[in-house]
Symmetry: C2
Subunit: 159 residues, 2 copies
């Protein structure tokens, strides 16, 4: 049980998009270049973010991606769900049922505690937004760093 790479990539892609001027776009190619990740795989992730309504996309010469929701409204949990889906972390393989030869509607003993643990986990993700990460980024980075990123963005942004 490990968190896969998709969430990290998606969150940082969103943080980059969050630095664009209003209505400006950035291509998937530029995003993947900046993040040093596979362009085709990031496209797949971006599609998920579009389908989740977090990002909007425009195909074509001046196309690309931009934030659709506001950064205060984008919870990290939203990003997680967009990338991973809503299924529970815990899925019983039927050991309990096999042990007792139970009907399938009977709930696995572990399910309740695992659901509760998952909700506790989710609630932390729900109170962290893109805006708070953006703030954390500004707080912990040097001006030099941020300036570099922003000028790199400026060269590639589509208005």
């Amino acid at each position: 049980m490990k968190i896969k790479t998709g969430l990290e990539q998606a969150v940082y892609a969103l943080l980059l998009l969050n630095r664009l001027p209003k209505h400006a776009m950035l291509s998937g190619e530029s995003l993947s270049e900046k993040l040093h990740v596979s362009s085709t795989y990031l496209q797949k992730l971006m599609r998920k973010l579009v389908q989740a309504g977090l990002v909007s996309s425009v195909p074509g010469v001046k196309g690309g991606f931009r934030l659709l929701a506001t950064p205060e409204d984008i919870q990290i949990y939203d990003v997680y769900v967009a990338v991973e889906g809503v299924e529970s972390l815990y899925h019983s393989n039927g050991v309990f049922h096999a042990m007792f030869q139970l009907a399938e509607n009977k709930t696995c003993l572990l399910s309740d505690v695992m659901e509760e643990a998952e909700h506790a986990w989710q609630s932390v993700l729900k109170r962290t937004t893109l805006a708070s990460l953006h703030q954390a980024l500004n707080n912990t980075s040097t001006n030099d760093c941020l300036t570099k990123i922003d000028s790199w963005l400026k060269e590639r942004v589509v208005l």
Copy 2:
């Protein structure tokens, strides 16, 4: 990110061992038979529980496994750690670092929130013990069911 099958198998194995008379043992073969899981893979899991000090083992004709710790002292979190290890759920792939061309000692922005979420998750697992699951099992199962399990155990237990 899904919880793997090992935790479920381990927890139910422990619940079976918890129903044995004091000092009595049950072989790995019997455990896997009752749980309807792969015997060799369950052996692997049992080895981990032994190494974690939750279970003790005796090789040989009258060998097998028995609980070492008391059920009130065995948190589900302990089982999780025994089976999965203590490494964090979240592991940065260095996207943040690549983006900013940072030194490796700089903490990924996501790490703090993911650690906090993981602690919240852990704390639920920590307050659930084998004893509480044992109680839940007794509360939700028919006497018929439990009697069947216990008589099955009685036929295979090693004293």
